[in-house]
């Protein structure tokens, strides 16, 4: 995958730095709209969960988790459902737009985790978590990143599918059945949310660690002084 690269000459010093165009407009747009939508979906989802903070039978009702109201959106069940059933369309639309763009533009090759990325995962894990040597960076995403982003997209799709099974267990009875029934669909939906939040946590840590130029690339598309050479 060749990324568009540019050499920038400083008009005063004549110094030349390089920049690469990593994130096309549609990807950046979807990223930020989806980030807002995800925030609202999680917040309102937790408020919905508060109405019956358990799984299984209603009686005897044992609360699985007493989630604080201040970390939820909507104020009450009806309000939270309004947020959830509004932003789900924004969440799904950005997801579909992103997937459609990635497939049709071919940009997916930059991020999709494939078989040949497999050997590169362990060296990256060793580097990040066990102080191993840093493997050479050759492209925009390293194998571990590809794995993380590909998984996150998969989780996003699953969050929508499990959500539809909870919202429409009769019209999509086959979907609910595949997940083990309405009960399980609700539990899957909940667990997938935590998996997505785990990804978001790791993502934010990496954003902080990788600094300003990396962060700006998701705003302007351009990453100055990339770690890898564009050739």
């Amino acid at each position: 995958m060749s990324t568009q690269a540019i050499a920038i000459e400083n008009t005063k010093t004549g110094e030349v730095t390089e920049a690469v165009y990593e994130h096309p407009f549609v990807v950046r747009l979807c990223h930020w709209v989806n980030a807002v939508a995800l925030f609202v979906m999680v917040g309102s989802g937790l408020q919905i969960f508060r109405a019956f903070p358990s799984f299984g039978a209603k009686i005897p009702q044992k609360d699985l988790l007493n989630w604080p109201k201040s970390f939820a959106i909507g104020g009450w069940l009806g309000g939270a459902l309004q947020w959830h059933l509004t932003f789900m369309w924004i969440y799904i639309t950005t997801g579909l737009l992103y997937l459609g763009y990635q497939v049709f533009s071919g940009n997916y090759k930059q991020v999709l985790f494939v078989r040949r990325d497999l050997p590169g995962v362990w060296p990256m894990v060793r580097h990040y978590f066990f102080f191993g040597p840093k493997p050479p960076v050759t492209e925009a995403y390293n194998p571990l990143q590809k794995h993380a982003y590909t998984s996150a997209i998969g989780l996003g799709v699953l969050s929508a599918l499990t959500g539809f099974a909870v919202w429409k267990p009769v019209q999509f009875s086959w979907l609910a059945w595949m997940m083990g029934g309405f009960h399980w669909a609700r539990l899957w939906h909940f667990m997938i949310m935590w998996a997505i939040l785990a990804f978001v946590f790791g993502h934010l840590v990496m954003v902080v660690l990788h600094g300003w130029n990396n962060f700006v690339s998701m705003l302007t598309g351009w990453k100055k002084d990339p770690e890898y050479s564009s050739k």
Binding site: I8, K58, L77, L81, Q82, T86, S173, W177
Partner: protein
């Protein structure tokens, strides 16, 4: 081949790329108090519209074996205020009005004379819990035929002895699993479950399944939607 530029041009190009993202700020409208309510109302309205489009008249809700039933004693009782509005069964009738050929007061025996249906279906509460219950009654569609209802009308509305009220879209009212229910688990309805007559609608969430029915009306216009809906819950909420 790498193209070249200078830092000033690059800065301008970057700024243009950044400004392209300004549509994202439109989401901020949801944070403006005056706009929040109408926006969420529109969003929920869109979901309701999508729900009504997804509804299939001939698609049946899953049914279950007797061995899958939640024990009757564990079937939750959700009343919005009282568990027993004190209906006098001796003088109870269902008052029928609106776009029907035969309006008037119908006795329970007249309703029970229609073909009986027993179904084991899932009852899903908007809160997220669910139980599988056994429900016996007559098809609302059969009753609507008996009273000569205009089924081209848009809604069937219900009033209840406990001042609860509900409305159903006609497509759901005519669905073969939508029952005027007078039995649960093979026994006459108990008072806390809505005796003598309640709705059982496996294609709808629990709050649409009104208890203690007293009035039924076929209409094209809704003066009010339903007790919970009028407080901000989904109007259609089909499962």
């Amino acid at each position: 081949m790498i193209s070249r530029t200078d830092d000033r041009k690059f800065k301008h190009a970057s700024r243009r790329e950044l400004l392209k993202l300004t549509p994202v700020l439109a989401l901020g409208a949801f944070a403006i108090p005056a706009l929040q309510k109408p926006l969420l109302k529109a969003g929920l309205g869109f979901s309701d519209w999508a729900s009504s489009r997804l509804f299939r008249s001939r698609h049946l809700a899953p049914t279950f074996a007797d061995s899958d039933l939640t024990p009757f004693s564990k079937f939750p009782i959700n009343g919005y205020d009282v568990e027993d509005p004190g209906v006098d069964f001796d003088i109870w009738t269902l008052t029928v009005a609106g776009a029907v050929q035969k309006p008037g007061d119908y006795k329970l025996a007249q309703i029970q004379a229609l073909p009986k249906v027993i179904q084991n279906t899932r009852h899903v509460c908007v809160e997220g819990w669910d139980v599988i219950g056994s429900f016996g009654g007559v098809r609302l569609s059969d009753f609507l035929a008996m009273i000569g209802a205009d089924t081209t009308a848009r809604f069937v509305t219900f009033e209840c002895a406990d001042d609860y009220y509900e409305s159903l879209d006609m497509a759901t009212a005519l669905h073969p699993q939508t029952l005027l229910c007078y039995e649960m688990y093979g026994q006459p309805l108990t008072r806390e479950h809505g005796a003598p007559l309640r709705l059982n609608i496996p294609t709808k969430v629990g709050y649409k399944q009104a208890k203690y029915l007293t009035d039924l009306k076929v209409t094209n216009v809704l003066e009010r939607v339903g007790y919970w809906e009028d407080q901000g819950y989904s109007e259609f909420y089909g499962l």
